[in-house]
Symmetry: C2
Subunit: 353 residues, 2 copies
DNA sequence: TTGTAGGCGTTATCAG
DNA sequence: CTGATAACGCCTACAA
């Protein structure tokens, strides 16, 4: 019946669309050489006479030639693009890491292809498939939720770099942060300030890094001969709301504590709000320490004491390692050791235990 | 001399690499039809007999066939990928927008290709070129810094959607937020609370949205017959540090003010820290209002009153509009009107003017 | 050193 | 409705 044609606003324009792509062949003709020679020169694949090289470079410029990545990928097998699987592209932590990846890849002529897995293994698996389908030259997975096996399997098809997991294989490289020591330092700090009742807002035990942070917390207590009180530990999910709820729970249960260690800064922020709502001051009534050192944490009131996690550098190193894998070099990158940043949210215990 | 061969860790693996790609041709053979028919069926390009369709679908499954996007792009001219130029991938605001784009594009079978321009026009131009080279089907530019002309020129080559700029053309659609009204509401709010000396931390005048916010601030003052005092206005750059410095400057100059309106939440956070460092309480001594409603702002202590800007929705609408442009439909999306969120950082004036 | 020819995996244009 | 047959733009043996 009503056959739908192109809408008016598109028909109006005189189809200036086809900026008639400049092809390698055209460059070749202008330079008076064969296409293969142009290809070689542009890729540095072989040695060519200086005369032809210059002619080609010139022709390339005058024509404004830009090689078609699709054709390159199809013919050459390499796409110069790296798949990057992140859990939440809108998380401040991942944002910094992604920037690091971008900054490292760009000068090398590679482009990142970001995808979010939303902490869901199935989604993550799908991301990997999609990226492989797009023929990326390698995949970086930030904090994978997939099994070690699945990751190794993936690494059989192409180079893979993962963070937060400790497994190595032929084309698989992993970069891990010492979460245990980080949490240990944070807790030690609180203990050194005289606190003995230190509550802990944990992350999801399923995350290896969350488990490690919990372990660090316990190890510090033990080293100081402070009893571990399960009542002071509240599980969270790494989101602000978890921190808020945790504080509410602790207070509702009438738990006594003068310090609070949150397994990440986001939960620390939520906790800070919870304390504030209950009229408890930081650090006067409760000392607060986080983990991650998000860019915003230094602007909290009071600025949050925390463990610095080098997100940006993590991204750079992951990307650099990927480039090495591709080049056939075994990566050796390592993350810096955890560093405690003491800011305004933690102070010597003033109230009685 | 030392000829470098493949590194040992790569030679070890018996090159399980080539998972010998399943091609459309193989599917065709298995299904007993021609490649073109398979293509048609998979793309719904034409009507085919039910028998063949089923055979093809079946074959596709058994073989686990996944079409090669590169080949598709090369042959068909469409890559099913959308370029997205953002200014800072690690900004909380953009993060939310990017997620919106992702969520909208994915069900439609499109993939976003993110790139950061870092507020630099030259970098932005380069991003556009790179994306065009990658043959994306369209480009979304979030808060462009490029000239209107440049954007229009770009839109001659492919569909373009921009945010924060008011220009329409054939294949160019723009989505704007009413920054003027937002700033107006924020300032009105402060005035309604009895404040008469309202300082303003402005954004970079070069950004149209920053200029609009400034205009809203002034309009509100004027409407309330309050004098505009240039001394109370400090320029900033939308980063936390700007807010901090602005407060320091205001205080160093001995300016009197009981309220502070920051042109964005990030600067408001910095300002909060500045006030805190000077022993000024929010909102008791100074009421504070921001703009953007970043996810973290609700967890500030006290929670920040602000103008909600729908970042996630912005992303979704931008992506949806792009999809419409591609489909040849003229987009009509519009952003919701600015909404003031009154939280704990603003209160009735208590101190004398 | 350089050119020729074939192919990468699809889609699109034609005939049938 | 369906099947050949060209492209798409580039890379890479292979041959010269």
């Amino acid at each position: 019946m009503t056959k739908i044609g192109n809408p008016p606003h598109l028909e109006a324009e005189p189809r200036a669309q086809g900026k008639l792509t400049v092809t390698l062949e055209m460059v070749a003709k202008l330079a008076g050489v064969s296409p293969s020679t142009v290809s070689r020169i542009l890729n540095g694949t072989a040695v060519v006479s200086e005369a032809k090289r210059r002619a080609v470079v010139e022709a390339t410029k005058t024509l404004g030639f830009v090689p078609n990545p699709l054709a390159r990928g199809l013919a050459g097998g390499r796409t110069f693009s790296i798949g990057v699987v992140t859990q939440a592209i809108d998380s401040p932590f991942y944002g910094a890491a992604l920037r690091g990846i971008e900054d490292e890849l760009d000068p090398a002529g590679y482009s990142p292809l970001f995808m979010s897995a939303h902490w869901d293994p199935a989604t993550e698996a799908r991301c990997l498939e999609l990226l492989k389908a797009r023929r990326v030259d390698g995949i970086v997975v930030l904090m994978p939720r997939l099994s070690d096996e699945a990751l190794k399997a993936c690494a059989r098809d192409l180079p893979v770099v993962v963070t937060g997991r400790d497994l190595q294989a032929g084309q698989l490289f992993s970069l891990t942060f010492d979460n245990f020591t980080g949490a240990l330092r944070a807790t030690e700090h609180l203990i050194a300030l005289g606190h003995t009742r230190i509550a802990f807002i944990a992350g999801d035990e399923e995350h290896p890094d969350a488990a490690e942070r919990m372990r660090g917390y316990r190890a510090a207590l033990q080293a100081a001969q402070l009893a571990f009180d399960p009542q002071l530990v509240v599980p969270g999910k790494y989101h602000e709301i978890s921190g808020l709820e945790a504080v509410n729970q602790l207070l509702a249960q009438g738990q006594q504590f003068t310090a609070l260690f949150a397994a990440n800064d986001q939960m620390a922020a939520g906790a800070a709000l919870g304390l504030f709502q209950h009229g408890l001051r930081v650090p006067d009534d409760v000392s607060l320490v986080g983990f991650d050192d998000l860019p915003t944490s230094v602007y909290a009131t009071p600025p949050l004491s925390t463990i610095h996690q080098p997100a940006y550098e993590l991204g750079r190193l992951a990307a650099a390692s990927m480039l090495q894998l591709i080049a056939g070099i075994a990566p050796t990158a390592q993350l810096p050791v955890p560093e405690l940043l003491v800011r305004g949210s933690s102070a010597r215990r003033s109230t009685p235990a």
